[in-house]
Amino acid sequence: MAGKIPIAKTYKLFIDGAFPRSESGRTFSVNNSEGELIANVSQASRKDFREAVRAARSAQSPWASRTAYNRGQILYRVAEMLESRKPEFLELLKSIGVNNRVATREIEDSIQRLVWYAGWSDKYSQLLGSVNPVSGPYFNFTVPEPTGVVGIIAPTEPAMLGFISRIAPAIVSGNTVVVVSEAQSSLTSVTIAEVLVTSDVPAGVVNILTGDQTDLLPWMVGHLDVNAVDISGISPKTDLTHLEEVASNVKRVVSRSVDEESLELISDFLEMKTVWHPIGR
């Protein structure tokens, strides 16, 4: 190669808007489709997971308190920033073995997905909520609210579209997320973090832990400050017995096909709150 020696990127975790290394000091290597090393990636530990949950928790209420309009604009901003970095993602996807045509399509779909969910931010409440005609002099309404902190096992494939498809419906309503991304998909995940950090997404709303899902799954399902887990990206070989600990605090468990796009996915991460008030003088 002519010219200077290229500078390789260090892939680190994404917690509370910053890119720390794992406290464990461990990394794992990601190779390209030819078996050549692309990068050493930080391998998150249970303590990193704990830190990520802490960040997600403190970001949750402020994020949910933003107006729906504002959250929509921020998601749209993420789409804009992805659009401007298309060549980078194309190279990245190609490096992990996705062919040019599929990768191009995946990037377009990812951008479109963000735009689609951005538009939902100030609409889903009107479709999922209701004013309820109770038998009595009461004003009674039901509104959806975010569940809280969501742990997500990101699908490894499609790496980029899978990641976007899982986080967008969770954060659009005001949840914050801790995403576990493993193996080759961790490269796109961390690169998306770079997009998020420049897209007005507040620190702590999306936290990304690269590492081994089997290592981190028990800590995710057992953590008492995680309100829901999305296991859509769980590896088929994972023993579901590991999930039992979701019962420790009655977590909501979501499992969907990895790249679907629907209103149902937004409601997966919502609680319905019903309010009663008398009507009188």
Binding site: G136, P137, Y138, P278, I279, G280, R281
Partner: protein
């Protein structure tokens, strides 16, 4: 007194009374729930007797005559001529012009004479004319005076004037007991009923009374519950116990004992006597007597078996 929740200082007494807001729906639900109390057997008889003892047997017609009043008083003293167990009513209630006839007719009985006074039922004449009317009724021998709250002043924001007029009326009563009619059907909300109740009590009312009986919107169970809660609160804040009179539209024994339940379960049994609770009515007495006959005989009675007065 501007806002229902504010601390208010009434006139010359200088005492500060807090007025608590009222939630209409919960209040009405509570009243409806109390109306499901089941009054049976011995309780029913006790309730019927107590009802009679608390009645202000009332005639307030332009066509009232001395004979009509005399007949009413006879009924008041001996509601059921055939049964000596049946007690006399608390009082007869008449216009000032009829007071001395009533006093004559109830002499040597426990039945008291109450008179409406003070430009009843509107209250809209000068305070001088109204207090003169009160003094006159007292001079004629009335034991109790029923006046109306000046709703015009109260609803237009001049609570102070409404308050001072009650104070002046109380002065004019001398020894006679003062009942202040709030005319709850004109006040528009339970918050206003609560405010008016507190205002009247703070001004010295011995009783607060629901209605004149001259408008269709009169006493109701939730309105009396609202007043009873005000009385409870006033006693809590001042240690002064004020009586309640429900009037207007109370025609059946069942209605009457619902009132007893509301008073008893809100204020306690200390209020379940004629010193603290009255029902202003004319037709009610006969329904109570019919019910008593039914309890005593075991079969249903008919209107021909009670006297029409």
């Amino acid at each position: 007194m501007k806002m229902p929740t504010s601390n208010i200082t009434f006139g010359k007494t200088g005492s500060s009374i807090k007025v608590i807001p009222v939630d209409e729906v919960s209040l009405e639900a509570r009243a409806a729930s109390l109306a499901t109390r089941s009054i049976k057997t011995s309780s029913k008889k006790a309730a019927l007797h107590l009802t009679i003892r608390c009645i202000d047997l009332t005639t307030l017609e332009g066509a009232d005559t001395p004979e009509k009043v005399a007949s009413l008083c006879q009924k008041a003293k001996r509601p059921d001529p055939s049964n000596h167990d049946v007690p006399s009513v608390a009082a007869v209630c008449v216009y000032p012009e009829m007071v001395h006839h009533a006093v004559e007719a109830t002499r040597n009985s426990k039945v008291k004479v109450a008179s409406v006074a003070g430009a009843f039922p509107s209250g809209l004449s000068t305070i001088e004319a109204r207090t003169a009317d009160i003094s006159d009724a007292v001079k004629r021998g009335a034991d109790e005076i029923d006046i109306v709250l000046n709703r015009s002043a109260f609803l237009s924001g001049d609570e102070q004037r409404a308050f001072e007029e009650i104070v002046a009326s109380k002065d004019a009563c001398g020894e006679a007991h003062l009942k202040v009619i709030l005319e709850v059907g004109e006040l528009g909300s339970y918050d206003k009923i609560r405010q008016a109740s507190m205002l009247a009590m703070a001004a010295g009312a011995d009783f607060i009374k629901t209605s004149t009986g001259k408008i269709p919107q009169a006493s109701s169970l939730p309105r009396v519950l609202c007043m009873a809660e005000a009385v409870r609160d006033f006693a809590y804040q001042t240690n002064i116990s004020v009586g309640i009179k429900a009037a207007g539209g109370i025609r059946t024994a069942k209605q009457a004992w619902h009132y007893l339940v509301v008073i008893g379960e809100t204020l306690g049994s200390e209020w379940l006597n004629p010193e603290m609770f009255r029902i202003g009515a004319s037709g009610l007495l006969n329904d109570v007597l019919l019910q008593l006959n039914r309890l005593d005989s075991g079969s249903y009675s008919g209107p021909d078996y009670v006297t029409v007065d």
